[in-house]
């Protein structure tokens, strides 16, 4: 069929809505779809049967797994992830992933089947108002009832999902629109929507004002987020900080945009970030925020956040400017365009005394926290030494996908990265169960790279059924479970702030290695320091998927920590 379409573009061809959808996906260079069939999307799956060679469909075990996999795919590849799900429960199972993709600005296009259009609003079998349910968690959504709309709507969907500040888009297609045929007029990519401004106009007067402020700074400090990665501006960012000699700290979402061992990299910001960047946020004189959104986990208490500093905020989304922190100079625009404009206006300056302050505080953090977390000599294994050993074996070349909780914070604190798009985690929404399916997508999005899913014993049980997807689609991801036999982050808070009243954090687990074996996935469990490195080497050298369960200290805590309700400078080392 597609060959016919290709040849006879001028001649009109009659196609069904379903075929039009698949042709539209191919026109958008989509190769991989994560999905799960069901009644209201059957015509699309029927059409897919003939598209085996152009489109790879990964059958997941739950629709939440499909969207997290699409997110992982998008984050690792920089392309848009695609999801198929049926109406009703299929669509509602996407909601967590949509919310996650929305808050973490991940480009995803979801196609959901819908009941016949004459049944809309009748409480038909598996009917749900997916457009309204998903409105707050999508950048855009649309219901198709007429197949002729499909090419233009898909073009719009891909354009909106991937342009400007990216985000999830959902297209709901009624069953009659999937079945009905129409005259295919060809596919035109969308490049402009009159009511949509993906990139605000760059204003030179604000660039000039920002550059003047930066050039006058004695203690400039750069903080950066995922905007650098989404804007594909890693090189521009590096040139900017290197010319100015600025210390630069990353948010959890910005991590890996700059190699972790870069001499100007001073660590991670936020609640469990590094000591120096948190403390010195309240000592800098000019704070330059690049592609980040001042999340409360980064700022702590706002009325004690960088009050002494002039704030420059570079962001592509105008709604982020002044949302949390009032800016002195806003720099609206794509940082790929704005950063070079700033760099060319910079005077080369030496900030080595200021940078030395970061190193001084880093040393303190090393002595009080990091040394015993990464190099313990006795006692139970720590999460930190597991991550350190991974670093040593991979040289920081792996993609690390984390779930949510203590292991996430430890992995993000200690993992080393050489390349961008290497840290994939649920930053904004904090979705437990994210890592296993996201790792599947990441591996398919970057097949040449080693992908390691680091997951806690709690989170892994939320989407453990995706081991079935790994088995069936033969996705060689490495699953590293850090088992502390607790819902560790909640337990840590209960210990510190609720008088050790451990309320429902004591979680029991199955024999994960046996569960993996049930899915024909190899694995092993270690609890001894002496066997850790060999076990990790076995896992990473293994050709296929592999599950390694590491038993770690039950009641270890993640420090430093900015307690809730405190300013960043009140960060606790223990």
């Amino acid at each position: 069929m597609e060959a016919i379409l290709e040849q006879e573009k001028s001649v009109q061809v009659t196609v069904s809505g379903s075929v039009a959808l698949l042709e539209s996906l191919i026109a958008e260079n989509v190769q991989t779809i994560f999905g799960y069939p069901g009644g209201a999307i059957m015509p699309i799956y029927d059409a897919l049967y003939d598209y085996n060679e152009q489109l790879t469909h990964i059958l997941v075990r739950h629709e939440q797994g499909a969207i997290h996999a699409a997110q992982g795919f998008a984050r690792a590849s920089g392309k848009t992830g695609v999801v198929f799900a049926t109406s009703g429960p299929g669509a509602t199972n996407l909601v967590t992933g949509l919310a996650d993709a929305m808050i973490d600005s991940t480009p995803v296009v979801c196609i959901t089947g819908q009941v016949f259009s004459h049944l809309l609003g009748t409480d038909a079998f598996q009917e749900t108002d997916v457009i309204n349910i998903t409105a707050p968690v999508t950048k855009w959504n649309y219901q198709v009832t007429n197949p002729e709309e499909i090419p233009a709507v898909l073009a719009k969907a891909f354009y909106i999902a991937s342009s400007g500040r990216p985000g999830p888009v959902l297209v709901d297609i009624t069953k009659d629109a999937q079945l009905k045929t129409f005259e295919w007029q060809g596919y035109t990519k969308c490049a402009h929507i009159r009511s949509y401004r993906p990139k605000p106009h760059v204003r030179v007067e604000f660039i000039d004002a920002a550059a003047a402020l930066i050039n006058s700074a004695k203690k400039p400090f750069v903080i950066f987020g995922q905007g650098v990665i989404l804007g594909k501006a890693e090189a521009e960012f590096k040139a900017f900080i290197e010319k100015g000699g600025f210390p630069a700290a990353w948010t959890i979402m910005g991590m890996s945009a700059l190699p972790t061992d870069h001499p100007l990299g001073v660590g991670m910001l936020g609640m469990h970030g590094n000591y120096a960047p948190n403390v010195l946020t309240n000592e800098c004189d000019v704070l330059i925020a690049v592609g980040m959104r001042f999340d409360d986990r980064v700022t702590g208490r706002l009325d004690r956040y960088a009050k002494q500093a002039k704030i420059i905020h570079l962001d592509i989304d105008p709604a982020e400017i002044d949302k949390m922190v009032a800016t002195t100079v806003p720099v609206w625009g794509d940082c790929k365009e704005t950063l070079p404009l700033l760099t060319e206006r910079l005077q080369k300056q030496d900030h080595s005394d200021w940078l030395a302050k970061f190193h001084e505080l880093a040393l303190k953090e090393h002595e009080v926290v990091i040394e015993q977390e990464l190099f313990p000599e006795s006692g139970q294994l720590t999460m930190g030494e597991v991550i350190r050993t991974v670093n040593e074996i991979t040289n920081g070349e792996a993609i690390i996908v984390t779930d949510v909780g203590q292991h996430q914070m430890v992995a993000c604190r200690y993992a080393k990265y050489q390349q961008s798009k290497s840290n994939i985690t649920s930053g904004g929404l904090g979705t437990m169960g994210f890592a296993l399916p996201a790792a599947i997508g990441a591996k398919l999005g970057a097949p040449e790279r080693q992908v390691i899913a680091v997951i806690g014993d709690g989170g892994v049980q939320m989407t453990i059924q995706e081991l079935g997807t790994i088995m069936q689609s033969k996705v060689p991801v490495k699953i590293l479970i850090l088992n502390n036999q607790f819902l560790g982050m909640v337990r840590q808070w209960q210990q510190l702030f609720h008088d050790k009243r451990y309320s429902f954090v004591n979680i029991e687990s199955p024999d994960f290695v046996q569960v993996a074996k049930g899915y024909y996935i190899d694995g092993q469990k270690v609890s001894e320091r002496a066997s850790l490195r060999a076990a990790l080497e076995t896992m990473l050298a293994h050709q296929d998927a592999y599950l390694l369960e590491v038993m770690v200290g039950k009641e270890n805590n993640v420090f430093p920590m900015v307690p809730q309700g405190c300013g960043v400078a009140e960060i606790r080392l223990k």
């Binding site: 457009i131 309204n132 409105a135 707050p136 950048k139 855009w140 959504n141 649309y142 219901q143 909106i160 490049a191 402009h192 929507i193 009159r194 009511s195 949509y196 401004r197 605000p200 106009h201 204003r203 604000f206 989304d317 105008p318 709604a319 400017i321 002044d322 949302k323 100079v329 806003p330 609206w332």
Partner: protein, 186 residues
């Protein structure tokens, strides 16, 4: 900062579902919408929302940016009452017998700018147009005579300083918009 009345004017595409997307921007932040009107605008195919809320200026500015972030929204403005010309329309249903007997209808019409829309044997419907205080006043007058039904429309407003949307739309239709299609205030 004090909360005060703001009228938000939003120019949008005519798109199913946009009303709900705009409404949830307010409800998510637990902000009550005092009045909401949707209507065509001076430009063919472009819709116009008029929304009234009580908020601080800092918050209303943030809300307007969130509204503008919606794909189908072209532009949103916020204004204080002195920056707009606005009207609301109200209808009052009263018993014709009561009113004929006890009220000097003529005086009523003159003093409150009211107009009789329907006069039947059993009831009469009056209409007034004006600001909230004016439409409220007539309720007080009619209530003693058994006001059967009352309804007031949403606010419609014209921005005094606006030169309409024809010019603006041309900017939006260009692939590379003029700088001021998005305003930055320092």
């Amino acid at each position: 900062m004090e909360k005060q009345e703001y009228t938000i004017t939003v120019y949008t595409e005519n798109h199913v579902g946009l009303l709900s997307r705009i409404a949830i921007i307010f409800s998510r932040r637990k902000i009550n919408i005092e009045s909401l009107n949707t209507s065509p605008s001076e430009v063919d195919g472009i819709h116009r929302f008029t929304i009234v809320i009580f908020e601080t200026e800092v918050n209303v500015k943030k809300l307007v940016r969130q509204i503008e972030k919606q794909v189908e929204v072209l532009k949103a403005y916020y204004n204080t009452p002195d920056e707009i010309v606005w009207q609301e329309l109200a209808l009052y249903k009263v018993s014709t017998d009561e009113i004929a007997e006890k009220v000097k209808v003529e005086r009523l019409l003159r003093e409150y700018g009211a107009r009789a829309v329907v006069i039947r044997k059993d009831y009469t419907v009056f209409e007034t147009t004006g600001h909230r205080e004016e439409t409220d006043k007539l309720i007080e007058v009619l209530e003693p005579f058994g006001l059967i039904e009352f309804v007031r429309s949403a606010r419609v407003a014209i921005i005094k300083a606006s030169s309409g949307f024809h010019e603006k739309l041309r900017e939006f239709e260009a692939i590379h918009p003029a700088a001021d299609s998005l305003t930055i205030e320092l």
